[in-house]
Symmetry: none
Subunit: 336 residues, 2 copies
């Protein structure tokens, strides 16, 4: 799945403070409330420096531009502009279609025809967000890194990836805090306390639990030292089967969501190196549910049943960002 920049924290603060300002109706410096007056951009000129991120699917674009180059010392300042097309409102669309919308035919064939439609003003609203002046931190935050697909052999994993991971000494204390009930104990949905074959099932932080639409839970195994799918052998089959069956049963009991409505998988590469399994609503396109990152738990179990060393032997695929040092290390290994 594509790398998606998380909502910047400041954007959430923005929403909160904007709403607050509207409700108190106080005029504070630097805060303006929506009015019906038309305004200008808070800068002059906009010379595109870089497309930070764009999505044809989401109809959104993030641009870094130089502004105000004609004033001050002539060096200009940085701004970020985010443009996003808006979703359709049924009432506006219904009205449009009963009238005579402006159409240019692209082509027609039998019962099918495709057009360019040029709508009235209210249907062409674009959401524009401006960050000005923008700092380097803003630019980095919005910048999408290009992704590169890698195929890691078993040997690559032993000789390159593992040593690299070990050199990073990433802390997973927070995982142990959950397993030891030092944190988030009240969030636990189910637990099998067996130290070898047991696990804790807990809602993922990305799920606000307000709807089942985007249901997302994580099963974290009790046993320590299983870093990723690469460490799995037939020895772990009882654990994996417990997660699969008891996890589904617990979700059915708690949320009345049946097992055939769930996508149950591991990530490779995982976000953290303590074995965990994702349970997501099948209808939800969860980040990381793409084929280049997700491994269905039922298939992992079957692969191990066929071949105890499947995950040590086989070449596995994953995507890395351009600035990930592991990318360079693995690519260098390819040089003859």
């Amino acid at each position: 799945m594509a790398d998606v920049a998380p909502q910047p924290k400041r954007k959430r603060e923005l929403e909160a403070e904007g709403a607050e300002a509207l409700s108190t109706k106080e005029k504070e410096p630097g805060i303006g409330n929506g009015t019906s007056a038309f305004v200008s951009l808070p800068f002059s000129g906009f010379k595109v420096q870089k497309v930070l991120r764009e999505s044809a699917r989401d109809k959104i674009i993030f641009l870094h531009g130089k502004v105000n180059e004609d004033s001050g010392d002539g060096h200009g300042e940085d701004a970020v502009v985010i443009l996003e097309k808006t979703p359709f409102q049924l009432e506006q669309v219904a009205e449009l279609l009963t009238g005579s919308p402006e159409l240019k035919l692209q082509f027609s064939n039998d019962v099918y025809s495709t057009y360019h439609l040029f709508p009235p003003r209210q249907l062409s609203d674009i959401k524009a967000t401006v960050v000005y002046p923008a700092t380097e931190r803003h630019l980095q935050k919005y910048l999408r890194q290009d992704l590169h697909l890698l195929r890691e052999t078993g040997e690559d994993h032993k000789n390159i990836t593992l040593p690299h991971l070990e050199s990073q000494s990433l802390s997973i204390q927070w995982v142990y805090n959950i397993l030891d009930k030092k944190a988030e104990a009240d969030r636990i949905v189910f637990e099998n306390p067996d130290p070898s074959d047991g696990f804790v099932l807990i809602p993922d932080l990305k799920w606000n639990q307000q709807q089942l639409d985007d249901l997302y839970l994580i099963a974290i195994c009790h046993r320590r030292g299983i870093r990723s799918i690469r460490d799995l052998t037939t020895e772990h089959l009882p654990l994996l089967r417990n997660i699969l069956h008891q996890g589904q049963e617990a979700i059915l009991q708690r949320y009345q969501v049946a097992g055939d409505r769930l996508r149950i998988y591991l990530h490779y590469l995982p976000s953290y190196y303590h074995l965990h399994v994702h349970f997501t609503a099948l209808g939800f396109e969860a980040p990381g549910s793409g084929v280049e990152r997700a491994h269905l738990l039922a298939e992992v179990i079957e692969n191990l049943e066929c071949d105890p060393n499947y995950y040590q032997r086989r070449t596995l695929t994953f995507a890395l960002r351009t600035d990930d040092p592991l990318l360079r290390l693995l690519q260098q290994a390819r040089q003859p």
Copy 2:
């Protein structure tokens, strides 16, 4: 991945015949080519019956409406209208931001401000697709359904799925039209003409080729009779390797997109039962690139190298809509 209505087969025929009509310049009944003239919808009135599907994320809406109620017997006819906002083109956006775009302030706070932006005409283009008259089959096709995950064994495939498919007699004449150059010949990006191990590489209908963001091409094999991944054996390895390597090379040559920026995979279940491979931009969350539908071509090749009958033996996972008759057939097989 969320259930996305597959592109109807007729839509591809549409493209095929539209392109053919353009090239032969013959006027055939029911076929119209794009011109610069403005047109009307092919019906009068549009009374919304149902929102078949909508996505705020994708800025798309599918509507079922009653039309022509003022004529004929007064009962009206059915039509489906699909509206989708269009992605941003960098050049148009850059020009917009250097000028004085029409803006209404939503709110501002410190360095952040949000606006409603009302753009010039070319930036408000909406893609409109009309299906008229629409049949019950069209309405069902576009209606979003709940999904159920199925695990199909090799035996299930032989005894249930295959007979079910054969009973449906789905036409793939449009695929043969492409392979035989009777349609879309001018869209072909690359061809290996070998009848056994060759293929045609062509942009997918979902990609308007205006940006590389959502690059999407399909490789269709010349050889007939390979229905899906289930039919693959080591006999097909030369074909699969050709698609993988020559396909990547052709995309590099034509679009300067390197192989490590591509997600190359087969669908199971496929939308149509003539073997084809998807090439999508890695950064694009293409519908159907989720783990429950996509199978990376490089891994398919390796699985066959390990075990010639991998795809006849192994249990494969896929999602079916609630109203899919195959769902009931496969579920019934599970009853003790």
